[in-house]
Amino acid sequence: MANVDIKEIVLIATIIFLLAPTFLVLYVNLYNQRKKRHIEEKALLEARFQQELLKTQVEMQEQTLNHISREIHDNVTQVLSFVKLNLAIPANATPKQAEQKISESRNLVAQVINDLRNLSKSLSYEHILQLGLVQTIEIEVERVNKSGIINIELAVGGYAHSLGEDRELVLFRIFQEGLNNALKHSGAQKLKVSLDYFDHLFNLTIHDNGKGFLADEQNNRGSGLRNIVNRAALIGAVAVIDSAPGKGCCIKIAIDPFTQNPHANGNHHSLS
């Protein structure tokens, strides 16, 4: 009987001695495994974010090149051709006529130089990094307004500050995407763009007065709107796209500037 008691005591003592640290060590191991998974997921998201960022940069470069090509073809080449014709002064032209032609040509060349200068400043990736989001959008708005295709009203509220280079690049890309959608599909005459800076919130709103569309159609409207939502999620922002037939389209991007994990929730779809 005493032997049985001793065995029981040995068993209980051993359990007490070993159980607590065993559980502790198992818990540490389990937590460590979770940490490993978390690190792997984070690395994956980081890689996806970098890929998207690269894609965005490439798209922007493509767009810039297209823009430059269009400008050269539609503007610079035309004006220079005119200058060439202008300078082909006939032999019987009077000095006054020749002087007038030369003066006209000088003005045209000055205009071309000016246009080329503006072109060189326009929309390069480095430009956004240098000037910041607000100024880059202002330049873009000015350029589009000059073309007369659409009238854009830009409003900046609050104290404008940097949101971080990567975020600003993605936000600018979203703005471009919204602008392209308005130009290509909406038939809008007016576009309101507002940038609102608050202490813990930044809002980018793009509102057109175009023909609009049904909310159900959003998923079938090409990759443009989907890109906006995905890109917003990439930088930890929320994109809300609101539209109805005849009521235009409103794209709202909201982001907390202090979000530390911009590439989190990369698959997030917040179309409403």
Partner: protein
Amino acid sequence: MFRYLTINISVEIICLLTAFVCLKKNSGKAWLSMIPFLSMICLTEFGGKYLKMIYLQDPVHNLPNSWLYNILLIFQALFISLHFKYLIGNYVNSKPLIYCGLALTTMLYIYELYDHGIYKYNNLTNTVLSVQFISYSLYYYYNLLKADSYVNLKFSPGFWWVTGILFFCFGTIIGSLFYYKLSPILISSKVYLTTYIYITLNIILYSCWSYSFICKKWQMSTSKK
């Protein structure tokens, strides 16, 4: 000679030999310090066994071996605390914590020596030291998990070294707390239950330490490549 080779001493010698084989100069001072420390433990165990045999032969004219283990306690506190200082120091500044712990141990040790002399084992110091080592172990785990980088625990020398200490100290504390209940229990005609408990704890401690030395050797050979 063989009558000195108890299970405890055998396990300690195996651990010492593993340390000799696995720990090289480039393992760092903290790990290398394990070799003199384990040598000291082995020598103390031999000495302790010898003194115990003499004492059992003539308890009237001889003294028990507690004084020898009281001396070992100083080195235990020093070597283990400094190793914790190195391990926790990989994550945070561990100096204040370790030095405070050592100061507390010193005060308790002196108090106990003053209270009952060197010939009685310093149980209070030993128990408080175990509590300190458990706290250090938990703090080490906390920092290990909090760190951004991932460490494969299967092959982490630090983790296994700390795990050995954690098991041993948990056992020591519970053993000390229930000492008066457990110590009279005899498993066989001559062997007490506490003996088995301490043998089990020693086996766990030195197995974990031996494995941690092996991990350290793997780590060193991997980092060389």
